[in-house]
């Protein structure tokens, strides 16, 4: 009620004064009390108080009157316990120029233990919704999951830095936030910061532009630093340098660093060498597209979270048709549930077909065997004639096998047909090749990545 009134007052005043004036004086003001004779407005400092009393008082009274509030007295008080400051005070410790210097804080804390139990929990930008409990583990992400749990159990000890990479919507952010949440749950005093590298870059630019100080302290005073979407730092040299120093500082002091990106460090072209080698010195794990069973499990859990149990065939239909990422999978599920609810019908397979068929089902039909072969040849930069030829050099054999694998996995062609497409007579060659790649995908991340990237381009 107070807030709404003050909002409309501010809205009106904003139109009449300059932008700079408005942000300087009216930001952080609040209407804190209102009764018949008096209105109390809180302002951030003594300068604002004086300014309001002398310069803005008439204007505020006028606008209040327009909003139907006629107050005899308008009082301005200074908001001494600034919320923002208080939170910061609790969440960060002092500037650490000497990592191994004991601090007065530690002593204070050990001296008055009983009173520190009411400390505020650090937020660190974490979303409490992301936890390990609601992360669905399958063969495609179990390594990442286990490593993340190990990091959460002993931050800074094992796997530092932890570098997670994979395509969009595969759960990198979820895992990273789960680590942060888990650490805070165990020990609220640990300082965790979660930011995207984009925020890091823009904050850094701000600090440079306004010649502010304290940028390095902000990130060097944490116990766990989580940076999402690291690839955005690529090409920004000055920021990379700043990050490099932050990284070193944290790493030397055994503080945990967790990084995510869409590519492994090697494949980010404009990442400086020294950052790349540092990213690789901890644990680098990729998160793959979940397999069919995992996709089904995800759909089951998400549906039950909305209080709906889907039939197995509907789940399987969705899981079969949406392979690229989990976000899309969730989107399709939500779409289906919403549509069914709106129409008052069962969210069954026929509804799903009707709804999603035109979007997803048609996709594989756009892809021809020729496209797959072309793409593969292009990806490995070899001639089409070589790929379909008879040469058996290693740099041609592997792409040929991958092409066969893709023909099988994407188009479900028969083995003789696959062999024929690539100029082979014997279908056992195709069987052998496909088996080989299936095995290699599980063991060799290079192959896995190549397959994923060709597949991505096919559907792009």
């Amino acid at each position: 009620m107070h807030q709404a009134l003050w909002q409309s007052v501010l809205g009106e005043i904003e139109l009449t004064v300059s932008h700079a004036t408005f942000t300087t004086w009216f930001k952080n003001t609040e209407l804190i009390d209102q009764n018949e004779s008096e209105i109390i407005i809180s302002v951030p400092n003594i300068f604002a108080k004086k300014q309001f009393e002398v310069k803005f008082d008439d204007q505020i009274r006028n606008v209040l009157a327009k909003n139907g509030v006629n107050a005899k007295e308008v009082t301005y008080t200074i908001n001494t316990s600034n919320k923002h400051a208080r939170l910061n005070r609790e969440t960060t410790l002092s500037n650490n120029t000497n990592a191994n210097n004991s601090t007065v804080d530690e002593l204070l804390q050990s001296n008055n233990k009983p009173s520190t139990t009411t400390r505020l929990v650090t937020s660190g930008n974490l979303n409490p919704r992301y936890t390990f409990d609601n992360f669905i583990v399958g063969s495609s992400n179990d390594l990442a999951y286990t490593a993340s749990q190990a990091v959460a159990a002993n931050p800074g000890v094992k796997y530092n830095p932890l570098y997670l990479y994979g395509g969009v919507g595969l759960g990198k952010t979820h895992l990273m936030q789960a680590i942060g949440n888990e650490i805070i749950k165990k020990d609220p005093k640990i300082r965790v910061i979660y930011i995207s590298s984009e925020t890091f870059v823009s904050e850094f630019l701000d600090y440079i532009r306004f010649k502010k100080k304290g940028f390095s302290e902000k990130y060097r005073n944490v116990d766990v630093l989580i940076i999402d979407d690291m690839q955005f730092i690529a090409g920004k040299e000055k920021t990379q340098e700043e990050f490099f120093h932050t990284f070193n500082h944290l790493h030397q002091n055994n503080k945990q660093i967790i990084i995510s990106s869409d590519k492994p460090p090697k494949s980010i072209p404009t990442l400086t060498e020294r950052l790349r080698s540092r990213f690789e010195m901890g644990m680098t794990i990729d998160i793959q597209m979940p397999d069919f069973e995992t996709r089904c499990a995800i759909l089951n859990i998400k549906a039950s979270l909305s209080g709906i149990t889907l039939k197995q065939d509907t789940i399987e239909y969705l899981a079969t048709n949406i392979k690229t990422n989990i976000r899309e999978l969730e989107g399709a599920l939500n779409q289906l549930l919403a549509y069914a609810e709106m129409r008052g019908i069962e969210p069954d397979i026929s509804t799903a077909e009707g709804l999603l068929g035109n979007i997803h089902h048609s996709r594989p039909q756009h892809i021809s065997s020729k496209q797959i072969i072309d793409r593969t040849a292009k990806h490995f930069q070899i001639e089409l004639s070589e790929l379909c030829g008879s040469k058996r050099d290693k740099h041609i054999v592997v792409p040929r096998q991958i092409a066969m694998y893709l023909l099988r996995s994407e188009l479900h062609l028969s083995f003789p047909k696959i062999a024929n497409e690539l100029g082979r007579k014997d279908h056992t060659t195709a069987i052998h090749s496909i088996e080989k790649i299936e095995k290699a995908i599980k063991l060799d991340y290079i192959i896995r990545e190549q397959v994923a990237s060709i597949r991505e381009k096919l559907y792009a």
Partner: protein, 366 residues
């Protein structure tokens, strides 16, 4: 507005307030200074919305009025004028300045847009009058241990607090702590003054100042030195309860000459640059020697000794910079240095009985 002032007075006032006028601000008028007639004086003021400084200078006023003008240009222009009388005249929001053979017009802003300067109600606030020497010493002794970490605002200032009828100043950056007893007080007070404000006050102290008047209310503080006034916000929040950190007793105490102590600290500090300033102090009771040892793995190592009165053997590792800064502000020829083992804080003070200042440093974990 139309008036005449001397160049010396105007220059002193403008250069004093000009430092506060900030260029890094959203509100352009804050990079201006305010000139306003006040009875038969000229008020010169600037503010950055954390601090406001005001200087009053005597002037021959022909016509009252006010104007604001860009601080940087004005102060550079005035400081280059000859030491003669300066005529200031406002015509259409522009300031016409004439001094000897120089004349210029500076485009101004109307004074109405300038933020109102905060005022303090003298009757309802706590007041102190402090000798300038004491004030200067107390501030320089405590300001070195304030923090510049803006994420913990309460540590970025000096904490003025009353305790058992005395006014104390205290500051800590988390690694060291200093406390200075200043004057007797009958009022209860607890206020944190920003470091920048105190630095600004120190700059405004001139040779002819003898007393400084300080006025506190709940949210602001005002300093008055001669014709200058500085009003600043106070930092909100609670200062840590630092008194519980003061060691009640110590296992080891060394008493030694301050000059000796400073010299051996400085020398051993040369070999501690690689290790983040880490130096190890050892007391030897039998030989009555305090020795400092530091190692630079690439360059070599150093052991420096000074003779001292020692009560017990002991060892502690400290940051050499913190130690030499502490020694440089203790006003005494002899220093009492006490500690208890390697992890408890050490305390440095003068050997004078009932000394008003002490300095605590947390040891480095070695």
């Amino acid at each position: 507005m139309e008036l005449t002032v001397t160049q010396e007075n105007l220059n002193r006032a403008i250069s004093a307030v000009g430092r506060v006028a900030s260029t890094k601000t959203q509100l352009p008028i804050l990079s201006n200074i305010l000139l306003r007639t006040d009875g038969n004086r000229l008020l010169v003021a600037a503010t950055n919305l954390e601090i406001a400084t005001t200087q009053y200078i005597g002037a021959k006023i022909a016509k009252p009025g006010a104007i604001t003008i860009p601080a940087k240009l004005m102060s550079e222009f005035i400081s280059n004028l000859p030491k003669q009388s300066v005529e200031l005249k406002v015509i259409n929001d522009n300031l016409h300045i004439k001094c000897g053979t120089y004349s210029s017009i500076i485009n101004g802003f109307i004074a109405d847009d300038f933020p109102e300067l905060p005022t303090i109600n003298e009757s309802s606030s706590i007041q102190y009058s402090i000798k300038v020497e004491d004030f200067k010493q107390a501030i320089s002794q405590t300001i070195i241990t304030t923090s510049n970490d803006t994420t913990r605002p309460v540590l970025t200032g000096v904490y003025w607090n009353s305790f058992q009828g005395q006014l104390y100043l205290a500051a800590t950056d988390g690694y060291r702590l200093s406390e200075r007893r200043l004057v007797e007080t009958k009022s209860e007070i607890s206020a944190i003054i920003p470091t920048q404000t105190l630095q600004e006050v120190l700059r405004n102290i001139s040779d002819e100042s003898s007393e400084i008047d300080i006025l506190f209310d709940d949210t602001q503080v005002r300093f008055r030195i001669n014709d200058a006034e500085i009003i600043s916000r106070l930092i909100g929040g609670n200062f840590p309860n630092y008194r519980q950190l003061i060691p009640a007793s110590s296992e080891t105490t060394a008493v030694l000459n301050k000059a000796d102590f400073i010299r051996i600290t400085k020398i051993s500090g040369l070999f501690a640059r690689e290790s983040g300033g880490s130096i190890t102090l050892t007391t030897n009771k039998e030989t009555s020697v305090l020795s400092i040892h530091s190692i630079a793995s690439q360059l070599g190592e150093n052991t420096s000794e000074a003779s001292a009165k020692i009560t017990n053997i002991g060892q502690i590792t400290l940051n050499s910079r913190y130690l030499s800064e502490a020694l440089s502000v203790i006003d005494s020829d002899e220093i009492e240095f006490s500690f208890s083992g390697k992890i408890a804080p050490c305390i440095l003070k003068s050997t004078k009985p009932d000394t008003e200042y002490f300095h605590i440093i947390m040891p480095l974990k070695s």
